[in-house]
Symmetry: C2
């Protein structure tokens, strides 16, 4: 989603070159994506200024971007908070993720190099380990990395952007679900994805991704609490 420097992946970057508003955006984005901010939680500018030890302008800009991303919601009265998914939203997310991520997977399957598949396999092994030891934060981060990396192989920047945006919508809720049920309840479809990639079978990959998406979304749906 227009993330010029993915500093989160390659920390050995040139230096403190990237502007403050970019840094703030990245950090806030990660916090939302990996559930450090709970759905419904209020987000204040001044709170972030103190928490991130940054100026006001960068924080403002980061918040605007995240609102546009759908990662935060503007509540009308100058208030901003982390969005709470509703049941209807899940239906939309299921449809959108299925159509977009499956297409991405299809494209990736025809383009991906063997070395990159190995990287994905490593990620998946690390992911298994995170599940085994109940490391929720690690699980979320690795799962996201796995899909992001897979999507990146598609060479379809517009669709990748859409997929990223969708992920931001359910990221916070995913954390809640994992915290409640634990990570072990997610069967791992990634193995099927990797197998399909190695066989260069786009249909197989797309099918595996579809199942992965459906499983994830159904978990979120099941974990949705009525507002109470």
């Amino acid at each position: 989603m227009n993330v010029p420097n993915s500093a989160s992946i390659s920390p050995a970057e040139g230096g403190a070159k990237l502007p403050a508003h970019e840094v703030v955006y990245q950090r806030l984005r990660a916090q939302i994506l990996f559930g450090e901010l709970a759905p419904g939680q209020a987000v204040t500018i001044q709170g972030l200024v103190e928490a991130l030890d940054s100026g006001m302008t960068p924080v403002r800009e980061a918040i605007r971007r995240l609102i546009s991303d759908g990662a935060l919601v503007f509540q009308g009265n100058r208030r901003v908070s982390v969005p709470q998914l509703r049941a209807d939203d899940i239906d939309e997310l299921v449809y959108a993720r299925k159509t977009i991520e499956c297409e991405l997977a299809r494209r990736a399957a025809t383009r991906i190099e063997t070395a990159e598949i190995d990287v994905l396999e490593d990620l998946d092994l690390a992911l298994d380990k995170a599940i085994a030891i109940g490391d929720v934060a690690g699980y979320l981060a690795l799962n996201y990395q796995f899909h992001t990396r897979l999507n990146a192989q598609s060479e379809a920047p517009i669709l990748v952007d859409l997929a990223d945006r969708l992920w931001l919508r359910f990221g916070p809720s995913l954390r809640v679900v994992c915290g409640r049920f634990g990570t072990q309840s997610f069967p791992d479809r990634h193995k099927d994805i990797l197998e399909g990639l190695r066989k260069k079978d786009a249909d197989l990959v797309a099918l595996a991704v579809e199942r992965d998406v459906l499983q994830g979304m159904e978990q979120v749906r099941a974990g949705l609490t009525p507002v109470f």
Copy 2:
């Protein structure tokens, strides 16, 4: 796309209540959408500050939002410009628009009220008139309104958001194409859409929308100039 008050549609709003950054965002967005800013054109903060007679902060925030929307691109060296579509982008847009807007149309078909169909029909008549007199700006605005209004009936905010974002991507190029070929080269599929809506035939509506999308995108593709 998180547009609380669509001041562009109802100008007789309560007053100057909405914040400056929102106003700037709306105006810039419209300029991009309806081709007042050409693809490739550079956008400077200070230029907008003068042009819109606004402060720097609102302009900054509006630009951030539009970058996140994909309506502007950050060129790495602090420079911002209107994006230029490439041939590969069209393929992605075709796929994404087809899957998303057809689904929206399907949902709209089951929910729309007769009165709203009449409104759409009026819009379409005005659109015909704009085509007849070669009013490109009017054509673009009405065409956008028609689709936006149709999509809104779907009651699927997340998908609507995605569709809006896609529209922002090809808006500028559409203007270029219209300017070059004129508006008369676009056959009008809206009549089929309206017919399907009246019959409450979701499949028919979806099919008509798909054709409309395809036609529009192929026009854009045909009008794409290699960078030269």
